[in-house]
Subunit: 212 residues, 2 copies
Amino acid sequence: MSLISIVMKVPRTQSRKTGRPLSFDREAALEKAMLAFWESGYETTSISDLTAAMGVTAPSIYTAFGDKKQLFLEAMRRYVGDAADLKKAFVLAPTAKEAVARMMEDAARLYTGDATPRGCLLASAAATGSKDAADVRDAAARERRVIRTIIIERIESDVESGLLPPDTKTSVLADTALAITHGMSILARDGADRNALIAIAQASLSGWPDHS
Amino acid sequence: MSLISIVMKVPRTQSRKTGRPLSFDREAALEKAMLAFWESGYETTSISDLTAAMGVTAPSIYTAFGDKKQLFLEAMRRYVGDAADLKKAFVLAPTAKEAVARMMEDAARLYTGDATPRGCLLASAAATGSKDAADVRDAAARERRVIRTIIIERIESDVESGLLPPDTKTSVLADTALAITHGMSILARDGADRNALIAIAQASLSGWPDHS
DNA sequence: CTGATTTCATATCGCTCGCTACGAAACGCT
DNA sequence: AGCGTTTCGTAGCGAGCGATATGAAATCAG
């Protein structure tokens, strides 16, 4: 047993050799937790809410995931997925504009899915909160920043390759795309339908220098 | 004494004739409460946080404002101001586009003020939460909808007067402006500076049909 | 089998939450 | 002054919070 697992309480990620096995599907329970946080936010989703949603008792949550904060962070990571995948999609797209368009349309669909809460977990679940949860908000902000960096880098790439004019304001373009995407989350929560969000996404792209 | 004030507990808005007077400035305390909610959100700002911020004991808050929910609603109304004022600004502006530009730039300044929390109270303080607070979220959504209606009506007015082409997608234009404005709130919380937000606002307007 | 290990379900823990009972104090009115 | 009314500060209510102590049960190693 490693030192860190003696000093700190670290939830077990990979199955160990001995001991009674988990009686529930850890991945399925995490999925349910993610949906609960997505619906109601980090601080405003109680352990009681989570036990009900996950179908797992409180002590089982704590043995499997550590504490509420670690559970949320893991749920958030599950929500955003692998950053490398997003990076890859942006690199493989023919142009930065098309990559952003695709991202926004995916967001529009995600925010209005029938089987999931409306809006964006990353934008709403830790948008605000008490001082005790400042580190969780920072973690969410960090994830948003990763996305921003991926967008900016693809735009810069297009500028360097001549697909976009040299005087392109890369950060303005990226931040506008981010603002639209985050704004769509609130509009989705307010009842905007999928087509309305897609129309917004397309309209917001008309300000891009076009090279088609 | 009216019937409603016997049945329900209604906070006194105007000073009554008899009894011990309030020992604190109600407006100043409301302002402090607004800032606290703006900073930390509705459910995630505790009564204890509010007493500290307002400099008023809990019983005094309850006698002056009713309960936490009514205090928040009053703080939110103070934040958004009179809808008639916004309506007036939109009507008096030379064009819908200029009205929206002005609104966005005001938002950019408001979201990055030194004396106030970052971002937008209306967009973040009740963006998510538990089921118990659903009515508060609905109230915030209602305020956002009022703003949306004002924007749409001014755009429609410009279409009717010929300032905008007859095939203008009024709701798309309005929703895009709203998405940008709400998105700026999150970007402001993530540290975007005022000039960045203004640049986003201006960039988002390039998609408008121009009539200058 | 025995022993070591880990999760199980039950029953809480200490704490903070939103909120209020209570009696004293501060006003206007007569 | 005396009365009615309202707010004051103190103290604490019941409820729910996040998290855990406890011992039984379930696995594996030998």
